[in-house]
């Protein structure tokens, strides 16, 4: 089964925007509760982590199901993770700090979980920048792949950032971390532990 790539990309794009549309709807109708800023920050942060996990789930899902077309959606999902991460950072820098960069700088020093979250975001910037076909060609597949493995680090720092800010109820952050662990563990298994099939040097004769 190979769906029309243009249409399936549209489905992914529209569905990825649904949470943002509903969040803006809630904001416009003052339905974000007593602390709207916190609601928006929490929601966009959670969406960032969810999209990071979904984008990291694409390759395992593709390998397990054999549906090669799944791979075509990885880039867009990763870019949505970056997009929601950007909105998350904006709720902090714009609303929380009013672009007071000195206060934000002090905050990074005083609040380690903010430093960790910032690091995760900055790691995602070069990945977003090099996400175009042109950049893949320019860097070459091997180098591009190596660079984009830092997405694992971004996701791990994101999960750590969430774990660090929670006061006592660590169930949700630990669940997200466990999902990430499974996704990364799968890669470890495939690449290093599972015996590889022998490389065929010649095409099999019939």
């Amino acid at each position: 089964m190979t769906p029309d790539p243009k249409f399936s990309k549209l489905v992914v794009f529209v569905n990825s925007l649904v949470p943002l549309v509903l969040l803006l709807w809630d904001a416009a109708h003052k339905r974000m509760g007593a602390n709207p800023l916190e609601f928006a920050t929490r929601t966009t942060g959670m969406l960032t982590l969810v999209f990071l996990l979904i984008s990291l789930a694409v390759t395992p899902a593709r390998k397990l199901t054999g549906w090669q077309w799944l791979g075509k959606h990885r880039r867009m999902l990763g870019l949505f993770a970056f997009f929601y991460g950007f909105l998350h950072l904006m709720t902090y820098v714009w609303f929380d700090k009013f672009f007071n960069l000195k206060a934000a700088g002090l905050d990074i020093l005083n609040r380690p979980f903010i430093a960790v979250g910032m690091a995760a975001f900055f790691i995602m910037i070069p990945l977003a920048v090099t996400s175009t076909n042109k950049m893949v060609k320019r860097l070459g597949g091997k180098r591009w792949n190596r660079l984009h493995k830092t997405a694992y680090v971004a996701a791990a720092l994101g999960a750590l950032h969430y774990y660090m800010l929670v006061k006592a109820d660590t169930r949700l952050p630990l669940t997200l971390a466990a999902v990430l662990g499974i996704l990364l563990g799968y890669r470890l298994f495939i690449n290093y532990i599972q015996p590889k099939p022998p490389v065929r040097l010649l095409a099999p004769r019939r």
Binding site: L10, V14, N15, M32, N35, E38, F39, K167, R171
Partner: protein, 325 residues
């Protein structure tokens, strides 16, 4: 040999290209809309906006005393009742502040009794209505500062804790007051998890407990305290971070040594026994210099002792507040 022509499909039976394309378009539209609806439903069920609160019964004959030096006026805008009753930290019900009100909606607070015991001459188990008759209910407008960095201005109804303590006659060796929340996992569902050490316990030094600012609250805005805010009776200590103001109290015990407190047990380097509001002492994970007043857009500076320094600073003379945070 006759070769029969295959029964041809009449040109009139061939689906018109336009119809075929329309059907495809329709199917795709349905797939797109259906998936978007499913995603929207999933998002809504995982991240539901808080529900508006239920109405509460009025409290009769609440006194509105004039401000004094010991109980000063707070000339700041009151936080709306809806915010006070839909944005709560009450981990016994839900760790999501927007979800406490609905999780606690059916919490029954009658019958209810509070045992006052320990180093007192007249230990007694008070029925809640007897306790409410101990002193006139009066309005107390206080700033409320949560350790998480948000704050409110709340018109509580209640009476000074000192009235209750005087009634049971503390003995001279009573140095601290220990408080305990109800423990009943059937009625407080999160108590069946290990998020915190249940039951929730808190404590005050005797002079803090006897201070005129320290009250037992039974209402907000002249209405009976709703479950999510600590019904039927809770402590309010306005110069300390909110978690010190323990909710749904069933036991008050006067003791000689500093009692254990729940958040201190959970993370000793983050939450001290005193936990006085202090903008100069950062929480290890966040600054305490400023606060988000609920209902305001920008942040405001946090005041020493939450603005009650004139009333309470002398209680801590000679103490290093960095050490005793």
């Amino acid at each position: 040999m006759v070769i029969k022509k295959p029964a041809g499909i009449k040109s009139s039976e061939i689906t018109d290209k336009k119809v075929y394309l329309n059907r495809r378009l329709f199917m795709r539209g349905a797939a797109l809309a259906g998936s978007a609806l499913a995603t929207g439903w999933l998002y809504r069920s995982l991240n539901a906006p808080p529900q508006p609160p239920r109405a509460n019964a009025k409290i009769e004959n609440v006194l509105k005393p004039q401000p004094t030096f010991e109980v000063p006026a707070v000339n700041e805008k009151l936080t709306p009742l809806e915010s006070i009753t839909t944005y709560n930290n009450f981990y016994e019900f839900d760790t999501n502040k927007g979800g406490v009100a609905s999780a606690a909606a059916d919490f029954v607070t009658r019958p209810w009794s509070v045992s006052v015991e320990g180093l007192v001459n007249k230990p007694k188990v008070f029925d809640i209505d007897e306790l409410l008759g101990l002193a006139p209910q009066e309005e107390r407008i206080y700033r409320f500062r949560c350790v998480e960095g948000w704050s409110m201005v709340i018109p509580w109804d209640g009476f000074p804790l000192s009235k209750l303590l005087e009634a049971v006659e503390p003995q001279s060796n009573a140095k601290y007051v220990a408080f305990q929340t109800l423990y009943d996992p059937k009625r407080m569902p999160n108590q069946s998890t290990g998020i915190l050490d249940w039951p929730y316990v808190e404590g005050l030094r005797m002079d803090e407990a006897m201070h005129p600012l320290t009250i037992l609250a039974t209402g907000i805005y002249g209405e009976v305290l709703p479950p999510q805010d600590g019904a039927p009776i809770r402590l309010v200590v306005p110069w300390k971070y909110g978690f010190k103001s323990i909710k749904s109290i069933v036991k008050i015990k006067l003791v000689e040594t500093e009692p254990p407190t729940t958040w201190n047990i959970a993370a000793p380097d983050e939450y001290g026994f005193y936990s006085n509001v202090n903008p100069q002492v950062n929480h290890p994970r966040w600054s305490q210099a400023r606060e988000q007043r609920i209902g305001e857009f920008s942040k405001r500076p946090t005041l020493m002792f939450n603005g009650y320094a004139e009333q309470v600073a002398h209680l801590y003379d000679g103490m290093d507040l960095r050490k005793y945070y």
